[in-house]
């Protein structure tokens, strides 16, 4: 309790002092579902970046919270998504990482590295496994459902005092998703997803991802900075707290390979 108060004040003090608030863009003119999906997709597929975040997983309500410091190296383009998630703390798990790759329109693939030298490829069914014990799967962090063909606006709802359009995305057969549909509550003014609900083909809600803090990134765009993931197991919770994102990076060809996965280094800022 005290710890969380501490963190709250700490975050408030320093984030608020250091963070500015980008002037809000005027609400966009009426956008179609396709426009919104394209815009969000392009914001997500924004090239190379380096992200630092804290992942907090509480597997059971009474169990202790597991905190991981992660770094993400990612290259997201229109043709492919490649990413490496690496644990940098705690020490016992430092270096553990996963390489995920999905060329557009093709099935996803991946490999998991456990130091000192265990590397195992992920099968299609293992892509549904949990990312570092959290409520997100490997496929979740890779999948770009904004690129799916079928996009419709099914309503509006106020989330956290923000009026959001509800965008429903459905995959076609070529898109290899575990989900039957994904609904995204989009704050059109800031172009930020405030909530994402992922439904199984049976219609059951499989996960809910809620944006709990929106911040400006290094390109001064609004992005979800803190997320809460729930609903995989009703009694578990996963929180992601982003602390830094840097787009001024470029990755060598070898980064998103098995060798690259073993390298815990931080990419060099290019500008």
């Amino acid at each position: 309790m005290m710890k969380s108060i501490y963190q709250l004040i700490h975050r408030f003090t320093f984030i608020a002092l250091l963070a500015g608030s980008a002037s809000a863009a005027p609400p966009p003119p009426t956008m179609t579902a396709k426009d919104i999906a394209t815009k969000l997709g392009s914001l997500q597929q924004d090239g190379s970046s380096y992200v630092r975040l804290t992942l907090e997983v509480k597997p059971l309500p009474d169990s202790p919270k597991m905190t991981l410091q992660l770094q993400i190296k990612q290259r997201r383009t229109a043709t492919a998504t490649e990413m490496i998630y690496q644990v940098i703390w705690p020490k016992a798990r430092a270096g553990e990482g996963v390489l995920l790759r999905q060329p557009a329109g093709q099935p996803a693939s991946g490999a998991y590295f456990t130091p000192p030298d265990t590397l195992r490829p992920l099968t299609a069914s293992q892509m549904k496994d949990a990312l570092f014990g959290s409520d997100l799967t490997f496929a979740d962090v890779l999948e770009n459902f904004f690129a799916w063909q079928n996009q419709t606006i099914i309503g509006t709802e106020v989330i956290d005092r923000v009026s959001c359009q509800i965008l429903e995305s459905k995959p076609d057969k070529s898109q290899h998703s575990n989900y039957g549909s994904v609904r995204t509550w989009v704050d059109l003014r800031r172009m930020v997803p405030m909530r994402i609900d992922k439904f199984l083909p049976s219609g059951t809600l499989a996960r809910r991802i809620t944006t709990t803090r929106v911040a400006a990134d290094d390109l001064e765009r609004r992005i979800p900075a803190d997320l809460t993931v729930s609903a995989v197991r009703a009694d578990a919770s996963t929180e992601l707290r982003g602390s830094r994102i840097n787009h001024a990076v470029s990755y060598a060809n070898g980064t998103f390979t098995a060798d690259g996965l073993k390298d815990p280094g931080v990419p060099r800022r290019t500008e």
Binding site: M1, M2, K3, I5, Y6, Q7, I9, H10, R11, T13, F14, I15, A16, L17, L18, A19, G20, S21, A22, Y50, R52, L53, T54, E56, T67, Q69, Q71, Q86, I88, W89, P90, K91, A94, G95, A215, A216, D217, D218, E220, R241, S243, R244, A248, V249, P264, G265, V266, P267, R268, R269
Partner: protein, 371 residues
């Protein structure tokens, strides 16, 4: 008996109602004192942090991202040669999750730069050289991270050793993880990049001359913006937001206070209608009745204000002593703020009394003869 006795008796007439109104105002004013005090404290703690570092001017590129935007380290050299610049110190400030804390300030300072000089060792030692894998922790940071000297600390993917705990003389300094700039540049992939330059001007410059020096720096350095120390935070959108929030909340509290006092005073006027008519009948001028009501509401404001300042200060002090918050709040509970809060309360009282006073002045003295 003086006019003040009459005012005081008016409030004494309904002690419970007067007390409840006072509590209402006091809570409102306590909110003003606490919120404004804390938000001003933030600004001042930055200013005192800068002062502690001996910094007169801060050059940074405070966009809307979490930390100032990095720029070329060579900018420092361009600033160092500007006349009236006595010394410079390059810094890279970052916000990042460290171990089980999701957000910490990392302050990487030019090795040998003047921004190290204010750090007083509380335990351990300073790093031995620019590239020693070592950090020193501000006291609050050490507490938050539960670290002592000799412990290891993971920064990005590099393990470093905590070699010292320092008192930086200001909240921001004490909440930071401090290490040498070249070391952090290397481990964070920010080689040849900095995002803050602390500038020390030649002694004796007044605030106008400092501003002129800032203008000269800004003229020569397009990448970043120079501002007098402390002001850079005060002028940031984020701080303006906090300030607006605290004043906004305070305004709300004040409006509630106004309504409370107005209600009380209107009730007073309605209840004392005949008394007021009697006073008018025995020769009191309408202006005197107006003054009576306004003074009563001003006195309510004054007493509520004094109560509010007391509650606000006590509340902040209690908050400060909580172990979870200890050392993080550095509120500015200056006499100026207290005087301002009491003044606001008195103004609230007077404003709240205007309508009731106007109503009372319109009473017909002939009503005194009825009943």
């Amino acid at each position: 008996m003086t006019f003040f006795t009459i005012i005081y008796r008016g409030l004494q007439r309904r002690p419970v109602r007067t007390s409840l109104t006072l509590v209402g105002i006091a809570i409102g004013i306590a909110a003003v004192v606490a919120l404004v005090g804390i938000s001003r404290g933030f600004e001042q703690s930055w200013a005192s942090g800068m002062k502690a570092r001996g910094t007169d001017i801060v050059v940074s590129n405070m966009g809307s991202a979490l930390a100032p935007k990095p720029f070329r380290a060579a900018v420092r050299d361009a600033i160092a040669v500007i006349p009236q610049v006595a010394a410079t110190c390059s810094i890279f400030v970052d916000l990042t999750g460290i171990e089980d804390s999701s957000m910490m300030v990392v302050s990487a300072r030019e090795w040998g730069g003047f921004s190290w000089q204010n750090l007083k060792l509380v335990a351990g030692r300073m790093p031995n050289d620019a590239l020693e894998s070592a950090v020193v922790l501000g006291q609050n940071a050490a507490e938050a991270l539960k670290k002592k000297t000799g412990d290891s600390i993971q920064l990005e993917s590099t393990e470093l050793t905590v070699v010292g705990i320092v008192d930086g003389g200001a909240l921001v300094e004490n909440g930071s993880v401090i290490l040498s700039l070249p070391l952090y540049q290397k481990l964070s992939g920010n080689e040849d990049k900095i995002n803050i330059i602390d500038v020390r001007a030649v002694p004796g410059l007044n605030s106008d001359e400092l501003k002129q020096l800032c203008a000269r720096i800004n003229h020569q350095i397009p990448e970043a913006r120079a501002m007098p120390a402390g002001e850079h935070v005060g002028n940031s959108e984020a701080y303006r937001f906090i300030r607006a929030m605290s004043w906004g909340t305070s305004l709300l509290a004040v409006i509630v206070g106004v309504l409370g006092v107005m209600n009380t005073m209107l009730m007073t006027v309605f209840e004392r209608k005949q008394e007021i008519c009697i006073l008018l009948a025995i020769g009191w001028k309408r202006q005197r009745v107006i003054r009576l009501i306004l003074w009563e509401s001003a006195l309510l404001g004054l007493l509520g204000g004094i109560g509010g300042v007391t509650i606000g200060c006590a509340g902040v002090k209690v908050l400060e002593t909580l172990p979870a918050i200890h050392g993080l709040l550095e509120p500015d509970l200056s006499p100026r703020l207290m005087v301002m809060a009491v003044t606001i309360a008195v103004i609230v009282g007077v404003i709240s009394g205007i309508y009731p006073a106007w109503r009372s002045s319109r009473l017909n003295p002939s009503l005194a003869m009825q009943g």
